[in-house]
């Protein structure tokens, strides 16, 4: 391979190795195992209930807890590990375009988060809702779609955030908890600025969610998420071009 992308696979491999060897990745795998375990509990009690499982596991556990936690850790961890250890200096000193670095880091983080969240939903869906027939298949497809859109948007958003502030982890989880959780039920207009709603909007094109869940139409949701991803990646590249080393303050 030649051209600007020659370093791409190497940075991807590096980032994957940095993330996979950590204790928190193991904890995230345990977290992602939770929806399948709950699906097993449902089956153990002989319940095959598509809308019940969607409303009490996919939405409150997969979408509200697993997806934000996985993406915030992988998204901020992509540059975070290098930043903490100071090795980002060696990466930036290489003659590699900054956008290639951002793209490779984002690719690796998105891939990790996709594998984890999509596998979690697929396994849980296969255990509990797919046996219920076509309705169950489309519910699983809907939440796989939500995980894909959510992973792409959240990871690029948190990756960019981690380049602008050292408190990205706490800000990111505060965003998903306070802004998307508490405030969006009070102020419906927030739906346009909420990744959770983009994901739900995407899910809505596969499976009819109950009316108050998805506030955006699939077209709006996908357009807004595309804009978010492009803007976030552009901002991250711009920030990395003006990168200044700072002292570690936790």
């Amino acid at each position: 391979m030649t051209g600007p992308l020659v370093a791409f696979p190497e940075i991807v491999r590096l980032t994957l190795r940095q993330q996979l060897g950590r204790r928190r990745t193991l904890l995230l795998v345990l977290l992602a195992a939770l929806p399948p375990l709950l699906a097993l509990v449902y089956r153990a009690f002989g319940e095959v209930d598509v809308s019940g499982f969607t409303d009490s596991v996919f939405e409150p556990v997969s979408l509200t807890i697993v997806l934000p936690l996985a993406t915030v850790l992988f998204g901020t961890g992509a540059f975070g590990a290098e930043n903490d250890e100071g090795t980002i200096l060696y990466l930036l000193a290489k003659p590699i375009s900054r956008w290639v670095i951002v793209a490779a880091k984002a690719f690796a983080a998105v891939a990790l988060s996709l594998v984890l969240t999509v596998a979690s939903v697929l396994v849980a869906g296969a255990i509990e809702v797919v046996p219920a027939g076509s309705d169950g298949v489309s519910a699983t497809e809907a939440y796989v779609g939500a995980m894909v859109v959510g992973s792409l948007c959240y990871v690029t958003l948190f990756l960019t955030l981690s380049l602008f502030t050292r408190r990205a982890l706490v800000l990111g989880i505060g965003y998903s908890l306070v802004w998307e959780g508490a405030l969006s039920s009070l102020l419906p207009g927030i739906a346009n600025l909420s990744v959770r709603q983009y994901a739900l909007g995407a899910a809505d094109s596969f499976y009819q969610l109950h009316t108050e869940a998805a506030r955006l139409s699939p077209t709006t949701a996908l357009t807004l998420s595309a804009i978010l991803i492009v803007v976030a990646l552009a901002l991250a590249t711009w920030r990395l071009m003006r990168f200044e080393l700072s002292g570690s303050t936790d």
Partner: protein
């Protein structure tokens, strides 16, 4: 001071600091005084006193938001009083449901401040400096729990006082109003003590397992969210599927148990969200057990930690 009281290089308590050049002749206050000082300093630290303004932002904003609605009711108490006397229905905040309504803010308070209390000492590896002093490992852990509990209790009790003052001012006769309101308000004190002790021991026990503040904050959030959601989900399914002892699972939830326990202190019946088979007293017991278990986890952590 007599020579017998002097601590020198040969006596255990002075072995590290007294190198034999210059002796400390003053009074030594001992272990309890050291634990008390640690308690006071960490209580100040939770609220950001003695730290920069940025450290005061999170605790004061979150605790302020928690009591904001009670103060709002206090500020408009005269307007509300005239509306009530003209026969209108007014929805007021009550002592027994205030924590239930706004508990998320206190969870965020714990998430923001518990890592402040225990993580930095591990990150900068200064625990050995504490433990070579008169203070022991258990004293350290208990002083930290006590300080976060006190801070939470303050955050909890301030809106109760505001509600009490507001309710008294709404009545025409102040003295008889105090007599009426006091029995209704007093159960808030033991209820808030239990809430504070339970939330503080859970948060510190969990956050003491990571030296990084951000990771322990994430872990705390994950714990509170999951332990609220998962037992409720399993209970709903299992109850439907005919497993009768599934109601015990609800006792594992941190916040729902606390709101159930609050209802016991106020002598209120539980709402229909709770399993009908368990009385409010079960939740009080569950919360007391959780204080014990998480304090034990914290003590265990500090007994084993490499200082």
């Amino acid at each position: 001071m007599s020579a017998g009281n002097r601590l020198t290089a040969s006596s255990p308590a002075g072995s590290i600091y007294d190198l034999g050049y210059r002796h400390y002749e003053g009074k030594r206050h001992g272990r309890w005084y050291a634990a008390w000082s640690l308690y006071v300093e960490s209580l100040r630290g939770v609220w950001g006193f003695g730290r920069p303004m940025s450290a005061k932002a999170a605790p004061f904003i979150l605790a302020g938001l928690y009591s904001f609605f009670a103060f709002l009711q206090l500020a408009f108490s005269s307007t509300l009083a005239s509306e009530i006397s003209s026969g209108q229905q007014v929805q007021l905040f009550a002592y027994d449901s205030y924590f239930t309504t706004f508990s998320l803010l206190l969870v965020l308070f714990c998430v923001a401040q518990a890592p402040e209390v225990v993580c930095r000492d591990q990150r900068y590896q200064v625990l050995s400096l504490y433990f070579t002093r008169a203070i022991g490992r258990a004293d350290y852990a208990l002083a930290r729990v006590a300080s976060l509990s006190t801070a939470l209790f303050l955050a909890l009790i301030v809106p109760m006082i505001a509600l009490f003052v507001g309710d008294v001012l709404m009545k025409p006769d102040t003295i008889s109003a105090i007599g009426d309101e006091l029995p209704k308000a007093l159960p808030a004190i033991p209820a808030d003590l239990l809430i504070a002790a339970s939330m503080a021991s859970i948060s510190l026990a969990l956050s003491s397992y990571s030296p990084r503040r951000a990771y322990s904050a994430i872990g705390l959030i994950a714990y509170f969210l999951l332990m609220e959601a998962v037992p409720a989900i399993i209970y709903a399914v299992a109850n439907h599927g005919g497993w009768s002892s599934a109601d015990k699972l609800v006792l594992l939830t941190p916040i729902t148990s606390l709101t159930g326990a609050t209802d016991w202190f106020f002598g209120k019946a539980l709402t229909s969200d709770y399993p009908a088979t368990l009385g409010p007293a079960a939740y009080v017991l569950a919360c007391l057990v959780s204080v014990g278990v998480f304090s034990a986890i914290l003590l265990f952590r500090y007994r084993r930690i490499a200082a």
